[in-house]
């Protein structure tokens, strides 16, 4: 058994196979440590002896022929490396395209409906919307309906209104408001246009029956004869 003061040093010395002069001096005077050190040395020798067969087994004679056979079945090494290079390049290209698309999408102007909505819907629209259906203004009716539908769509998503205000310049907004104000001032014109569309006359104008006195049908041969000049 080792003395407590030299235990660690002597174990390490046995592992490293090196003894310092101090340890040598202690071993020369301490029989217990000498015996323990010898035991420790024999332990390390047994470990080294046990490791040797584990680390140096005989290599099977079949290994290299097997590898040669497998190599003959393999495509070229360069083909493999090229495949990896092409795969990497393709992946990089896909990522680049995705990045560009994402950037473009991020900087693109907001949808048109949002711009149209940023200004409060004018009363003129409401007037149009409230027009009686029996006016059947075939040219004017679809447009106000479309605008009204746009207003409803965006009003369900208030967060998009905020985005629209940021993206539309002030002067454009003012110009659009002016346009709507001018448009608002002519509801009479609109109603006049709508009311001016006449309803289709339901009464037919009577006509005298046409009487055909005689009908002359020229023969085709005669035409051919007259067409000799062609």
């Amino acid at each position: 058994m080792f003395c407590n003061a030299y235990r660690e040093s002597l174990v390490e010395a046995a592992a490293e196979r090196e003894l310092t002069p101090t340890l040598q001096q202690h071993l020369s005077v301490c029989e217990s440590c000498r015996a323990a050190f010898a035991e420790q040395q024999s332990l390390f020798a047994a470990i080294d002896a046990g490791l040797r067969p584990v680390a140096n087994p005989e290599v099977p004679a079949t290994l290299i022929p097997r590898v040669h056979v497998a190599l003959n079945e393999e495509p070229d090494a360069q083909t493999y490396s090229q495949k990896w290079i092409f795969a990497g390049a393709a992946l990089a290209a896909v990522l680049l395209v995705a990045l560009v698309l994402k950037l473009n999408h991020g900087t693109s102007p907001p949808p048109k409906e949002n711009i149209a909505v940023q200004v409060p819907a004018p009363p003129a629209f409401q007037q149009h919307e409230s027009l009686p259906l029996n006016l059947s203004a075939t040219r004017a009716a679809p447009r106000p309906q479309k605008r009204a539908e746009t207003v409803r769509l965006v009003s369900r998503k208030p967060e998009s209104l905020f985005t629209s205000e940021v993206l539309v310049p002030d002067e454009e907004r003012a110009a659009f408001a002016r346009f709507l104000t001018r448009d608002q001032s002519a509801p009479a014109t609109v109603s006049a246009v709508i009311s001016a569309i006449p309803e289709a006359p339901k009464v037919l104008v009577p006509l005298q029956p046409v009487e055909i006195a005689s009908l002359k049908v020229p023969s085709l041969n005669g035409e051919e004869a007259s067409g000799d000049g062609f």
Binding site: V11, E12, A14, A15, E16, E39, Q40, S42, L43, F44, A46, I47, D48, G50, L51, R52, V54, A55, N56, P57, V59, P60, T62, L63, I64, R66, V67, H68, A70, L71, E74, D76, A77, Q78, Y80, S81, W84
Partner: protein, 194 residues
């Protein structure tokens, strides 16, 4: 002028011939290395798996993988170090399969019985304990100890194979042996007393 160069039929054939020559040279170089590196791949795998058949499979797989990427290896002098890493990693992967492990251990026991009929019971037990203790070592210590125990490997060569300084190799071997000694101390004392 450019068009003439582009459609020159001889240039394609020449490029193809050059490529084939390069491939043949790569193959030749790999086969030269194969002769002296296959044993290393096998022994590293065998040190982990403790089974000849499994180790042979792993060594073959390591060499094939090495061949596939051989053209990408810039420093061909590091081929053996590269192969050691591939083989060790593949062997560890295979070891993780529980089913294979059971079969391997059974086979290992049978092999031991066949190969050492004259050995004493204590010696066989010690060897088994040593193998078990090695399995429990951290991977870095285990590989350093295994490579240093291979015949013909100096500390400098192990350092090259592991791509670490010689001092690191010494340190790893020291700690590995110390851990093994701690696990086997009682066992050796008992056998010495017999």
């Amino acid at each position: 002028m450019q068009e003439l160069i582009l459609i020159e039929p001889g240039s394609t054939a020449k490029a193809e011939w050059t490529r084939e020559a390069e491939l043949a040279a790569t193959r030749r170089e790999f086969e030269q290395r194969l002769a002296d590196s296959s044993a290393l791949a096998f022994r590293v795998a065998r040190g982990v798996l403790k089974n000849d058949a499994d180790a042979e499979d792993v060594a073959q797989e390591s060499l094939i993988r090495a061949f596939r990427k051989f053209a990408l290896l810039r420093d061909r002098n590091r081929f053996r170090a590269w192969l050691v890493r591939i083989s060790f990693r593949l062997a560890l992967d295979r070891l993780r399969s529980a089913k294979r492990r059971e079969l391997r251990e059974a086979e290992w026991m049978r092999e031991q019985e066949r190969s050492r009929p004259a050995n004493s019971q204590g010696s066989r037990e010690f060897q088994q304990q040593l193998e078990n203790a090695m399995d429990e070592l951290p991977q870095k210590l285990r590989l350093a100890l295994l490579l240093s125990a291979m015949e013909g490997h100096s500390l400098e060569e192990v350092a090259v194979l592991l791509s670490v300084p010689v001092g690191t190799v010494k340190s790893r071997i020291f700690f590995a042996r110390k851990q093994l000694a701690e696990k086997l101390r009682c066992f050796v004392t008992l056998t010495e007393n017999r």
